[in-house]
């Protein structure tokens, strides 16, 4: 039988192999191309893919709220948007600009001017409210909205206007604290989510991914400030500053038993500049309370002692004489020295106490050191070392000259006298509540040290009460309540040197009710244009604040005559 050798092509197996090889050409070519692209052109294509698939969400920084002690919002961030235009993607310039002008309420010419000025991208409007945002969003998917960009940003809102704004401070549109509490507690208030990478769809919409949801750790800061008390303090202070034409005014309210600051007002108001903590001044006669408390506590004088007035002209050292023109008495008791605000009396008591002892008490009361109230820019004042004091320095310190202090130091010292002699740590923050439920309590009363004995505190309270009942502080009297306090009128150092008669600071510091102090209040008016006194200008402001607070808190009258 003849057997014909079949050609290679007629062999079925060979045909199958050829077909298989032909089929393999395309996948191999693709594989090679992929290998080339993924190896040699890796960076180029990764960038392209990154741009095509992912969208970088705007840098986002969440920010917590600042609230008063009762939970009233003092500062809150509201999500708004800014609207920008990328010129190169805009389809119809006129239509898009007309739409934006109408929706955003901006003149068309202003947008056109920005268009001409900028090469490609520019912002048309910032802080767009939600209602307007909702009108723009649907157009983003149409030709009208091509080239428009809506970026989220935050607006920090203060629902009570300027109330406590000097304390709160400011934050920028990126939710970063710039001054005041906003700056001091920036770490607790804010959370930097930074740039988030989100998958995006064809038209740039973000595709939800559970990884995008961040663990929130922002905190809400609750202050010890009471909105009502702050309002009362600001209102009374504004009235006094305007009435007496003062350059600045300060009003502080403290709870003497705990050290809590209930109100801290400055006028005129500036973001993050709370003069109660940052302003330093020579206090004048309000400081007599400190010097005399120290002497009573040290036992160098007793409340029944009478001080010789030296004919109301005391030559402390050669060339330096202190005069008392406000009375004609030859001897004054301690309460009378305070009632008549005798510089000779206070000076003599300070000299009797001695430099070392007075210095010890000043430091114990917290003067010359920061109170650590945790407010940016807190001043520490100045108490020079006692070994450099002359007799004149010592005598003048007795009535509040030659040292400088801050209002918070003074009110805290008065609170120590009011609460039985313990210096408390003043504080502004009550608690911080975090989004995850943690609560950081800050308001636990902290006793710094005992400064004077409880008996001294009682005697001094009686003395201060007599100042309001029969002395220079009569205008601080409140019907039905016992009030303890001291006036102060201090001349300021002038530019020419020495103390100028025209520039002065008037103040009043006291506590109420004297029998069971609930509020310590300090009012300071810096440089009133009209010549006035602490008892005339500051005491009425004290009275107004105290009356409102007593009414608000429902504190019962304590004056024996009134109750009976």
């Amino acid at each position: 039988m003849f057997k014909r050798s079949s050609p290679f092509i007629y062999d079925v197996k060979n045909r199958m192999k050829i077909c298989g090889l032909l089929c393999l050409i395309a996948p191999v070519a693709i594989a090679l191309r992929l290998f080339y692209m993924q190896t040699f052109q890796h960076d180029k294509f990764t960038t392209k893919a990154e741009r095509a698939i992912y969208n970088y969400l705007a840098e986002d920084r969440l920010r917590g709220k600042i609230l008063d002690v009762n939970g009233n919002f003092l500062a809150q961030s509201v999500r708004t948007h800014s609207c920008g235009i990328s010129k190169r993607y805009v389809k119809d310039r006129n239509k898009t600009i007309s739409f934006l002008a109408k929706t955003l309420g901006i003149p068309k010419e202003r947008i056109l001017e920005k268009w001409r000025r900028n090469r490609n991208f520019f912002f048309v409007a910032k802080k767009i409210k939600p209602d307007v945002y909702m009108q723009i969003v649907p157009t983003l998917r149409t030709s009208l909205g091509q080239g428009l960009d809506l970026t989220p940003e935050y607006e920090r809102i203060h629902p009570y206007g300027d109330t406590a704004i000097d304390l709160l401070g400011a934050s920028n549109s990126k939710n970063f604290g710039l001054s005041g509490i906003e700056q001091m507690y920036n770490r607790e208030l804010s959370q930097d989510i930074s740039k988030k990478r989100a998958k995006r769809a064809r038209r740039g919409e973000v595709i939800y991914d559970r990884n995008l949801k961040e663990h929130l750790s922002v905190g809400d800061v609750y202050l010890t400030i009471d909105l009502q008390a702050q309002f009362f303090a600001e209102e009374a202070l504004k009235k006094s500053v305007e009435e007496y034409g003062a350059e600045h005014g300060i009003a502080l309210v403290q709870e003497p038993s705990t050290g809590k600051i209930l109100a801290a007002a400055s006028y005129p108001v500036k973001d993050g500049q709370s003069l109660g903590f940052q302003f330093t001044y020579e206090p004048g006669s309000t400081f007599k309370t400190i010097a005399i408390s120290s002497a009573l506590d040290a036992g160098t004088v007793t409340v029944t002692d009478s001080i010789d007035m030296d004919g109301r002209k005391w030559e402390v050292a050669r060339g330096f004489t202190i005069r008392d023109n406000q009375h004609d008495k030859d001897f004054l008791s301690i309460p009378e020295i305070m009632q008549l605000s005798s510089n000779i009396g206070a000076g003599k008591i300070a000299v009797e106490l001695g430099a070392k002892n007075l210095f010890y008490y000043l430091k114990a009361f917290g003067f010359g050191t920061k109170t650590d109230i945790n407010f940016n820019g807190e001043a520490k004042g100045n108490v020079p070392p006692y070994n450099k004091w002359t007799k004149v320095d010592l005598a003048t310190k007795g009535y509040g000259y030659g040292i400088s202090l801050t209002p918070i130091q003074l009110i805290n010292a008065y609170s120590a006298i009011a609460n039985g002699g313990t210096l408390m740590q003043p504080h502004l923050v009550d608690r911080i509540e975090y989004a995850d439920g943690r609560v950081d309590k800050k308001s636990k009363p902290v006793k710094i040290r005992r400064v004077i004995k409880p008996e001294t505190s009682k005697i001094m309270t009686k003395v201060l009460q007599s100042v309001v009942e029969a002395g220079s502080g009569k205008r601080a009297q409140i019907k039905g309540y016992t009030v303890a306090g001291k006036t102060g009128t201090a001349e300021k150092l002038s530019k020419e040197g020495g103390y100028g008669k025209r520039n002065h600071i008037v103040s009043f510091c006291g506590f109420v009710p004297a029998s069971n102090p609930q509020f310590t209040i300090l009012v300071v008016l810096d440089n009133p244009s009209k010549y006035t006194f602490g008892g005339t200008a500051a005491a009425p402001a004290f009275k107004q604040i105290a009356e409102n607070l007593l009414t608000l808190k429902g504190i019962a009258p304590d004056q024996v005559d009134f109750i009976n």
Partner: protein, 84 residues
């Protein structure tokens, strides 16, 4: 036949994966859209709350009470405190 069956199963599986991915993306888009709406509504709500706070502020209330109703702050001794 076996190969065809395997290929068919692989194709079905691949289709399933594609459909699932598409569905995830579609739902993701929908969720994002809804989340955005929620955020806008929340922002709206915040503005309303802030307006309420402004209207309830001591400054606003006392100004209205004094100017429109002729009311005055009472003195503390007029307040009767009831003890528990």
């Amino acid at each position: 036949m076996k190969i065809f069956a395997v290929l068919f199963l692989i194709s079905v599986f691949a289709m399933g994966v594609v459909v699932m991915r598409m569905e995830i993306n579609r739902s993701g888009r929908e969720i994002s859209k809804l989340q955005n709406q929620v955020e806008v509504q929340e922002a709206r709500n915040q503005y309303v709350q802030l307006e309420i706070a402004r209207l309830e502020s001591p400054a606003h209330v006392s100004a209205l009470a004094q100017e429109k109703l002729g009311m005055q702050f009472t003195k503390p001794h007029n307040v009767v405190v009831l003890k528990d």
